[in-house]
Every structure is written in C-alpha cells, then in structure tokens.
C-alpha cells in the first residue's frame, strides 16, 4: 500500500516527466536542447521580483514572475543571436549567468529583509524539493501537461515542419518565429512548474534526456513523441520510488540518473542507431566487401577452366582476413575446399563472382563517365549502384559495358521500346 503523500509525489513527477518529454522532443529536434537550461536559470530573478512585490509566498504570482523573466531571457537570447555578432552559444551563456546573478542579488536582498522564516529559498530552487509536492502542485502539472498536449495536437503539422526544416517552413510562409516563440513559451511553463520539484539543473535534464533517448529508437516524429512522453513518465516514477527507498537522497538527481541510465542503455542496444547495432552492421558490411573482393579475385585467377586458386596469390586483392573469408564462402557453398591452401569456385560461386565483377565494372564505368556526380558516392557498397542512379542511366551504362566486354554475364536491365526499363531476370540469389 502506497502512502497518500508518496502517491501525490509519484503523480506529480510522472506527469512532469511526461510533459517535459513531450515538449522537449521539439526542443531537441530544433537543436534548442539547452534553451531549457537557460530558461530555468532566467526564471530566478522573476521569482524574486514577484516575491518582493507580493510580499508573501503566493504561488500564482511567483509562477507568473518566473514565467515572465524566463520568456524575457529567451527573447534576449534570440535578439542577441539575431542582431549582434554574438553567437547563439555565447548568448545562451550570457543570458543564463547574468539572469542567475541578478536572481542571486535579489534573493539575498529578500533574505536580508525577511524578519521571520519566510525565505524565497534559493536552496530548494537549485535542487528542488520533490517530497514537498502538494495535491495542488499535481493539479497544476496535470493541467499544464494537458494544455501542452492539446496545443501540440492542434499545431502538430506546423511544429513538425519547423522542427525538421525551418528554412523550408520560412520559405513556405509559415510563421516560424511565432511557432518558435510558442515552443519557448511551452518550455517556460513546464520549467516554471517543474522547478520547485526537481530544481534548476535537473529540470534541464528532464527536457533533454527522454527525447534524446527516444530519438535513438525511432526515426518518426509521432512514435518519438509517444516514446519520449512514456520515458519521461517512467523516469519520474522510478526515480521517485528509488528516492523514497533511500530516504536520505534528494529525488531530483536520482530522477536524472534514472534518465541517464535509460539513455546509456538505449545508446548501447537501440536497433538502428545503437552502438551495438551499428557495430554489427559495420561488421556485416566488412564481411560482404571481403567476400566480394575474394570472389572477384578468384574468378580472375581461375580462368575459364576453373582451376583451384591458391590463397597466397589472392592476398593483395582481398580486403580483410583472407582465410576466414575463404572458409565462410565455403560454408555458403560458393567455394569448394581442395586443400588447406587451395579453393575452387563452385557453379554458384562462379555465378556470383561474375555478378560481383560486373557490378564493380559498372561502378568504374559510372565513375569514368560521370566523375563529377559519381565521386560523391565512391566508397559506397558496389551493389547499390542500381539504387543510386536512375534506371535509364543504369541501362545505358550496362549497354556500354556489354559493348566493350563480352566475357561477363549479359545486362539485366534493358531499355524497352516504350523507353521504360525492364529487369530481365532476378540476379540477386
């Protein structure tokens, strides 16, 4: 049975995580990941001013103050990058540190003024006090989350366009500046709401970690949004549970480290962008290159009588470990073993060797005929030429190749009478 207080905190951090995951996705795609950090720092002076003006801890006033100074900070950031020679990174640092400095000045003034125990609490501003969350905080976070969800749903198409191709969006007449401002405002709202719970540095992490993790798993926006929100939720809930278990630890850092753990795990095992997956793909590609170079070299040496070829003779033409490649090709039934040093191409192996040679010659032809375009794709896999060039061009290259060499297999792509291209036979066994 979970205590009521824990339940409140769980709900609060979970909702906060989900919301920041949602909005952070657009920030990360827009390469504005650190804007959240600047916002969180820039909110401090507004918080203090609100406190000085209202004179007591009134939540709406404090939130409004923080929101206004946060938005002011990001506007200064945008203006500096737009109208002066200050670059975006320096502008971010300037806004972040100067606003924070102003906040410190103000908060000390408040502390000096305070007669009783009512401090603005710089301490909880930096680290957050997750355990101090109340039911009203949860309603607030929930309301903000719902609002963000609605806005994103309404402006999904526009936000997507701006996230992936702002130049095109501007050219198409979309109000990019307005959409950017909206995004910043959404971030500002979340940061302001989340600050009391997780603190200033760690709020930035909540906006960055879930989207960056989600980005590793998918290439599409809507799954990324869902995943990022779900990750944010999970990070908040798990972090809170862990910190409840180790009662001495503050929840903010634990939540962040749970997020970091998710990120590192994903970095390792994600299907396409993960380090393991990429290492496997690279290994596969290397083996393929080795096989193809082996087959080509073997075919050239074997001649028409299909003599067995000696490995040492192939040494210089084969990329990668030659013996392992030979054994692999033998297992695939493309080579037959004569003895330890000698291998002979099988019927099937010969066929593939002819194709590999043909593909390589096509590439060479392409490079010769169109050096300006072709050089951009020189070190790509030889088999992908068919995917890289238009079908008509491929047919033209094949025709030229057939005209100069007759020893290889005939063209597979022919120009038909209508000008279309037909594939004569399926070659990739």
């Amino acid at each position: 049975m979970i205590a009521y207080n824990t339940l409140i905190v769980l709900l609060g951090t979970g909702l906060l995580g989900a919301t920041s995951g949602l909005v952070g996705t657009f920030a990360v795609l827009r390469r504005r990941a650190l804007t959240g950090d600047a916002l969180a720092h820039a909110a401090l002076p507004g918080l203090c001013v609100a406190f000085l003006v209202v004179g007591e801890r009134s939540l709406p006033a404090l939130l409004l103050g923080a929101f206004i100074s946060g938005v002011l900070g990001v506007s200064v950031l945008a203006a500096l990058a737009r109208w002066t020679r200050i670059k975006e990174d320096a502008a971010l640092g300037i806004v972040l540190s100067v606003f924070f400095g102003a906040g410190m000045v103000l908060s000390r003034i408040i502390q000096n003024q305070a007669t009783g125990g009512s401090k603005a609490g710089l301490d909880s501003y930096i680290l957050g006090k997750t355990a101090g969350m109340l039911a009203q905080d949860v309603y607030l976070v929930g309301g903000v989350g719902l609002g963000c969800l609605l806005l994103i749903a309404l402006l999904y198409k526009e936000l997507r366009l701006v996230a992936f191709d702002p130049a095109f969006a501007r050219g198409g007449g979309w109000p990019v500046l307005l959409l950017d401002l909206l995004l910043m405002a959404l971030m500002a709202v979340i940061v302001v709401v989340g600050l009391p719970a997780v603190g200033v540095v760690l709020m930035a992490a909540l906006l960055i970690l879930p989207p960056v993790t989600a980005r590793l798993w998918t290439e599409r926006l809507s799954p990324m949004l869902l995943l990022s929100a779900a990750l944010g939720l999970a990070v908040g809930v798990i972090g809170t549970l862990l910190s409840a278990h180790f009662s001495k630890m503050p929840a903010g850092p634990i939540i962040v480290l749970v997020g970091t753990t998710f990120f590192l795990t994903s970095l390792l095992v994600a299907p396409r962008r993960g380090i393991l997956a990429r290492a496997i793909a690279r290994g596969r590609f290397r083996r393929k290159l080795a096989s193809q170079s082996f087959l080509r070299a073997a075919l050239a040496l074997a001649g028409d009588d299909n003599d067995p070829v000696a490995l040492p003779l192939l040494q210089r033409q084969v990329r990668g470990p030659i013996r392992a490649t030979a054994q692999r090709l033998a297992r695939q039934g493309l080579l037959e073993v004569v003895d330890d040093e000698h291998y002979r191409l099988t019927e099937q192996g010969r066929e593939q060797a002819v194709q590999a040679t043909r593909q390589q010659r096509l590439w060479q032809f392409y490079l010769q005929e169109y050096p300006d375009v072709a050089s951009a794709s020189v070190d790509l896999d030889t088999e992908t030429l068919a995917l890289r060039v238009p079908a008509a061009l491929l047919a033209e290259l094949e025709a030229k190749l057939d005209a100069v060499s007759t020893s290889l297999a005939p063209a597979v792509h022919r120009l038909s009478a209508q000008g279309g291209v037909t594939v004569a036979q399926e070659t990739h066994a």
Binding site: D89, V98, M104
Partner: protein
C-alpha cells in the same frame, strides 16, 4: 580587519578570478565553445566531492586534480556522444553535464558529512573570503589567493606560450591542422585549464558566476574589437572593472558580491551591445540611416540632372523632390541634406541644381550609364533590363572604378539607350 582592507582583499580575489576567466573565456567565445565552459563548470562537482571523500578534507591540490579529470572527461564524453551516439552537440552537452552534476549532488548529500553546502558551490561566498586568512611570508592574506594566484599564473603562461597556436586554432582549425599544430591536444589543454580555473574560482564566485565571468567579459570585448590581442586585454580589464563595481554595488545594496559582479558584467555587455563602435546596434543603425539618406539624396540629384539634360534647365517643387527621395524619414533627411550641403538652391518655381550639385549629379549619372554600357557589353542583357541594376549600383561606383569601367569599354560616349555618358566633372579625378 578594517573595512578598507576587507574591500581590498575581496576586490583582489574577485579580480584575480575574473581575469583568468576572461582570458580563457575569450578563446571559448571565439571558438563557439561557451557552452562547454558552462557544462564543465557544473560537471566538475563530482570531481571535487570525490577528491574530498578520498582525502578526507579540503585540500587544494587534490581538488584541482579531481576537477581537472572531470573537466576533461566532460569535454571528451560530449565529443564521444556526438561521434558515436550521433547526438546533436547541444543535446550531448546537456546529457553529460546534467548527469555528472546529478552524480555530484548525490555524492555530496549522501556521503559528505561536513558542511560543503550546495548553495556555496552555486553562489560562492565572495563576501566572506577575505575573512578566512592565512600567513604567507609574514603577511596575512586571504586563503583563496593561494589558489587564485597560481590559477592566473597558469592561465597567463598558457596564453603566452601558446599564443600563436591558440590564435590559429581559434580562427582556422583546418589551417592549424595542416600546419601540424595538434588542435586536439590544445583543445583538451584549454578544457583542463577551464576546469582548473573553475575550481579555483568556486569558493570565490560559485559555478554559475564562473560561467558569467568566462563568457560575458569575453563577449563584450568581442563586440568592441576585431583583434585578438585587444580582445584579451579588454576582457581582462572588464573583469577587473566587474570586480570593483560589483563589490561596491553589493555594499550599496547589502547583497551578494558575486551576483553583483555578474550583473555588472551584464550591464557592461548591454552597453557594448548598443554603443560598440562598429558592432553596436546604434552605430549599425546610424550607418544604415546615413546610407539610406545618401541614396535618397543622390536619387533627387540624378533626377534633376536628367531633366536639365532634356529641357536645358530644370526645377522641381519641394513635394516632387520628396516623392523622388521616398516619403519617409530617410527621404526627408536626404532632401534636407541636399540644402545643407549646398547642392540645390531655390529657383523661381522650386529647387534647381547649384554648380556643385551639378558636378555631383554628373558623376552619378556617369556611373549609372557606364554600368548600363558595361552590362550591355558583357552580360548581353536586353535593353529594358539595364536600368534597374544600374539604379542600384550607381551609388557605389566611385570615380576610380568609373575610370576603370570607361577604360575597359574604350571610353564610350553613349550608353546602350543612346544617351550621352557625361565626362567626369572638371576638378575631379
């Protein structure tokens, strides 16, 4: 300790810290690495705490080492995430520094029993550093000087020893590599120094304000000058000024000295944004205004000249002059400046050219028609496409360029429309 002594030592400590930060920060700003500085200043926290835990007490040298290790680690991890994880630069920095910071906070709250206050790490205790003194050579000096002075010496040595290399790397990393300068090594050296200076300054100004002192004076200096040497000198000078004014301001308002320094730096930066001689917003605005007014003025002159050419003499009413100049502020300015400069005078029905005005107008129309002739000759544009570009360019062809064009075209007397190209007015060359 007297008030005067307190002020002296506090300002000295602040100035020492600010100068080291400003020197290193100049390179960060130029190389667009400001955010790395920000990240490092947060991410050294676990290094400091670990050093403290291992040695059991605060010991400057081990704190330095801990910070160095984590500073370089931050730069390295962020780079690695970018290359191996294919995460954007800003997002990878965000992930690294928030995670390391979270680790630091957990270590701090979980294992450190003594009062190593988080607040103090963030905000610094500049106000009281002067009170914690030790004896060096018989003189009583604040203890922080023992770390700040070596940090400044180290920074100065680094800048002077690697002056040439740092300069090339900052402005043209590719050239640096081609010249055989190890840019990577220099990069990590710089990062290590940033970490060292950060930790040396922690006690005095706190981590956020290290960021302020790293970036803000350097960015201000960058607005004021285009030369690296001057930029460093100005940045250092600004650092000292920030220390003086920041301290005095903090006494006045009875508030945090470090915060006041950041605010002062922000104030200097804001002044530079508006008033910098070449890159300031005001000077840019004035330049534009002057240019618009000149173009408006010259348009009126040329119109008067053309009418004179056609009808023998010409007068234009004030309202048609204004219409030609464009009905806006710059048009009005341009028109008024015609009179101030004595280029037009009142005639019987309106305004007519003075001899000086005629000379200026002749030069302008000459520029216009020469350019038309050049376009017609070399770009084979149709006749109706010549006027538009010439109308734009006439304002920027000085007499020397005009002579060059005339020589290139073998001293033409007519433009492609058949109108006379006026000779350069007498008395001008």
């Amino acid at each position: 300790m007297t008030d005067w002594q307190l002020a002296f030592w506090t300002i000295l400590a602040g100035a020492l810290c600010n100068v080291s930060c400003a020197l290193l920060g100049s390179y960060l700003v130029l190389r667009r690495l400001s955010l790395l500085g920000d990240a490092i200043s947060h991410a050294v926290l676990p290094g400091i705490v670990l050093a403290f835990l291992l040695r059991g007490r605060i010991e400057p040298l081990s704190l330095f080492l801990g910070a160095l290790v984590f500073g370089v680690l931050t730069a390295f991890l962020a780079q690695t995430l970018q290359t191996f994880g294919r995460v954007n630069e800003d997002a990878s920095l965000g992930v690294v520094f928030t995670s390391l910071f979270a680790v630091g906070v957990l270590l701090l709250t979980g294992f450190v029993k003594v009062d190593l206050d988080v607040n103090c790490v963030f905000a610094g205790v500049l106000d009281t550093v002067a009170l914690d003194t030790g004896r060096v050579g018989g003189i009583e000096v604040p203890r922080v000087l023992l770390t700040l002075v070596p940090a400044l010496v180290l920074t100065l040595l680094f800048v002077l020893l690697f002056w040439k290399e740092l300069k090339i790397v900052s402005f043209d990393p590719a050239l640096a590599t081609a010249l055989g300068i190890n840019a990577t090594l220099l990069h990590y050296l710089l990062m290590a120094l940033v970490a060292a200076v950060t930790v040396a300054s922690f006690e005095a100004v706190g981590s956020i304000l290290v960021v302020a002192m790293l970036i803000v004076p350097a960015a201000t200096a960058h607005l004021l000058t285009d030369r690296l040497g001057w930029m460093l000198v100005l940045a250092a000078l600004l650092g000292v000024l920030c220390a003086v004014f920041g301290y005095e301001g903090s006494r006045l308002l009875n508030t945090s000295a470090a915060g006041m320094m950041a605010v002062t730096a922000g104030g200097f930066f804001a002044l530079a944004v508006f008033l910098a001689p070449r890159h300031g917003v005001v000077s840019k605005l004035l330049h534009r205004l002057a240019l618009s007014a000149r173009i408006a003025r010259e348009d009126v002159l040329a119109a008067l000249y053309r009418r004179e050419e056609k009808e023998g003499s010409a007068e234009l009413s004030g309202s048609s002059c204004l219409r030609l100049a464009g009905r806006d502020l710059t048009g009005l300015l341009g028109f008024l400046s015609l009179r101030w400069k004595g280029l037009i005078e009142s005639g019987t029905q309106g305004y007519q050219l003075t001899p000086a005005g005629r000379g200026a107008a002749q030069l302008l129309v000459r520029a216009h028609r020469l350019w038309e002739a050049y376009l017609g000759e070399h770009f084979e544009l149709p006749l109706d496409h010549l006027h538009e570009p010439a109308e734009r360019l006439e304002h920027f062809l000085d007499p020397a360029l005009q002579d060059q064009l005339a020589a290139e075209l073998h001293q033409p007397v007519h433009d492609p429309h058949g109108r006379d190209i006026p000779p350069p007015p007498p008395g001008r060359k």
